[in-house]
């Protein structure tokens, strides 16, 4: 892993982006990494576009500021592409991951990133979520897809962390569904 990975999350309030940012940070901690996860706080209402941030590093993280040049951008809701510049500040070797049925090529064209070195990845996280969790909660599958698209983690540490943290709060059925959604997204993400 590179020394510092910076992830920016785009979602609508209520989709669980803050929880996802937190789960990624916690998984990193279990791998003895240093991490930060913070939402960008504002007048937050269900459905309003929001941002959250995760930093992961193998050395202590000292900085406290927004992430302007992320290694990875995760978009939980593809309708945001029309209203938010999700590619803003992305590093040339970075990756943009979107919850969508579209192919990475179609996504690249939509983002206006033809000819760019930025990688574009797509995953139908909502579809996976509807099949596994029986509702549209794209946040946990997006973690699986992020792990694969960035090479940040293997799927196992995510699954073991989910078991540990969800085990306290949810039924086995829900835990299993989340694990299934993460594992499927890890396998199914396509990177172009």
């Amino acid at each position: 892993m590179q020394q510092l990975a910076e992830i920016r999350w785009h979602a609508r309030a209520g989709q669980g982006a803050v929880t996802a940012a937190k789960l990624v940070a916690e998984t990193a901690l279990e791998l003895d990494q240093y991490m930060q996860a913070m939402p960008e706080y504002g007048p937050e209402r269900m459905g309003a576009p929001i941002k959250a941030f995760t930093r992961i590093s193998n050395v202590p993280i000292e900085i406290h500021c927004n992430i302007e040049n992320p290694n990875a951008v995760v978009v939980l809701d593809e309708t945001l592409l029309a209203i938010v510049d999700v590619a803003e500040g992305i590093r040339s070797d970075g990756v943009i991951l979107v919850n969508t049925c579209k192919t990475p090529d179609a996504l690249r064209a939509e983002l206006g990133l033809q000819g760019s070195t930025v990688r574009v990845a797509s995953i139908d996280a909502s579809g996976i979520s509807l099949e596994t969790l029986k509702r549209d909660m794209p946040n946990t599958p997006m973690i699986g897809a992020l792990a694969k698209a960035t090479g940040l983690f293997e799927v196992d540490p995510i699954v073991s962390h989910l078991k540990k943290t969800f085990g306290k709060k949810f039924s086995q059925e829900i835990i299993d569904a989340n694990i299934a959604s993460v594992t499927r997204a890890y396998k199914e993400v396509s990177v172009g």
Binding site: M38, Y41, I63, H64, C65, E68
Partner: protein, 395 residues
């Protein structure tokens, strides 16, 4: 030695955890963004029976601090937490708590004061309360917020001190970010913090006392204030001693002033709170480019570490003081006034530049800190220092 576990948690969560581990008798509080999750979490501990604290819900911060004062005078170990307008609403009680020498511990989530309304970080709330007689500690990280809270209890209740202590953490930046934090086991904290033996407790029926007395014209009011000054001066040694003990226990040192690269620095930034990390990060990069950059972090603002600041800055060619609060019409921000005063007795005549930054949560981008160090390098090379204070990164 204590067992420590490493957790991922927000600054507010670990402050609530530290307060729980101190087993206070009473918490009286009113919620306010971005402090809310401290009192929410603590109320949860009370509800689950994880701490045996009388939790008093009040209708305002004015009432919250009043209840804290009453409970503390009664002889209880008392904690609370607030932020911004809440701290402002407590203002008259803050003076009463320190004047009555009540060792209340309060967390303050640093947030801007209205108007215009804003819920994000700056230090104008606490700087407005800097002369209320409270000991004031600042945290850079969630870890420091946890550590400061535990140490605060010992410092406040020390018989040589008996003053209230505020532990400050930056709103949202520290309160709401999930960070890597080491937490001690309950038993070790209980041993470290110890039992509280109140002085002049109203509930000590064997030794009745009156609190809240009058000391008018010709009376000893002046002497009481002098006694308060003497107590906060004595707290310097107590803070250092408590921190030394805590660092043996936790492995984490505490300095009223903490320095980075100051052994041979030509240019230095003096800063409080979460921005200290940004400054160190930039200084480290500049070092790689051959710039002798240093950072001085002030972790204890009251009592102010004059001698330590003067010593840390000795030999430096140019200094920038970063203030996350205004003191409108003054020579500079609150920290600048203290730092330049600390340097007055030095014969070195070090140029000191004041930057106001990050008001209302305005993001402290690394480029901003880079421009500060660039200015300092120019001044160190003989260029004239900017006249008056600089609004860092403002339009």
């Amino acid at each position: 030695m204590p067992t420590q576990k490493t957790i991922a948690a927000t600054g507010n969560a670990v402050v609530a955890e530290a307060l729980r581990q101190c087993s206070p008798d009473v918490m009286a509080a009113y919620p306010i963004t971005p402090q809310t999750t401290i009192v929410e979490e603590f109320a949860g501990f009370v509800a689950k029976g994880r701490v045996h604290t009388e939790y008093v819900t009040t209708e305002s911060e004015h009432s919250a601090m009043s209840a804290c004062i009453g409970a503390s005078a009664a002889g209880a170990r008392v904690v609370t937490a607030t932020s911004s307008q809440g701290l402002a609403l407590m203002w008259e009680e803050l003076h009463i708590a320190s004047g009555m020498r009540l060792p209340i511990v309060m967390a303050n989530a640093n947030r801007a004061l209205s108007a215009p309304i804003n819920i994000h970080c700056d230090h104008s709330d606490i700087m407005g309360a800097r002369d209320t007689g409270w000991i004031i500690l600042f945290a850079e990280t969630a870890q420091e917020a946890y550590d400061n809270t535990l140490m605060s209890m010992r410092i406040a209740e020390n018989p040589e001190v008996l003053l209230p202590v505020m532990t400050c953490l930056d709103g949202f930046i520290t309160t709401h970010s999930i960070d890597r934090v080491e937490i001690m086991d309950d038993e070790s904290v209980a041993d470290f913090v110890g039992e509280y033996t109140p002085v002049n407790a109203l509930l000590d029926l064997e030794n009745p006392v009156s609190h809240g007395n009058f000391a008018g014209l010709g009376g000893p009011f002046f002497e009481f204030k002098k006694a308060q000054r003497e107590a906060i001066e004595r707290s310097r040694k107590v803070i250092t001693d408590v921190a030394a003990e805590y660092s043996v226990l936790s492995g984490r040192p505490f300095g009223m002033v903490e320095t980075w690269g100051m052994e041979d620095a030509d240019v230095a930034v003096v800063v409080i709170g979460s921005t200290a990390g940004n400054a160190r990060h930039v200084a480290r990069q500049l070092r790689a480019d051959g710039v002798k950059a240093g950072v001085v972090k002030v972790r204890c603002f009251r009592p102010f570490p004059f001698a330590e600041i003067a010593e840390a800055l000795s030999g430096v060619k140019a200094v920038a003081v970063l203030d996350r609060a205004e003191s409108f019409g003054a020579e500079g921000g609150p920290l600048f006034l203290e730092v330049r005063s600390a340097l007055y007795d030095s014969s070195e005549r070090i140029p000191v530049v004041n930057y106001i930054y990050g008001l209302g949560g305005s993001d402290v981008r690394l480029e901003l800190i880079e421009t500060v160090f660039k200015d300092l390098s120019d001044i160190a090379a003989g260029e004239e220092a900017p006249a008056g204070l600089v609004y860092l990164g403002s339009r």
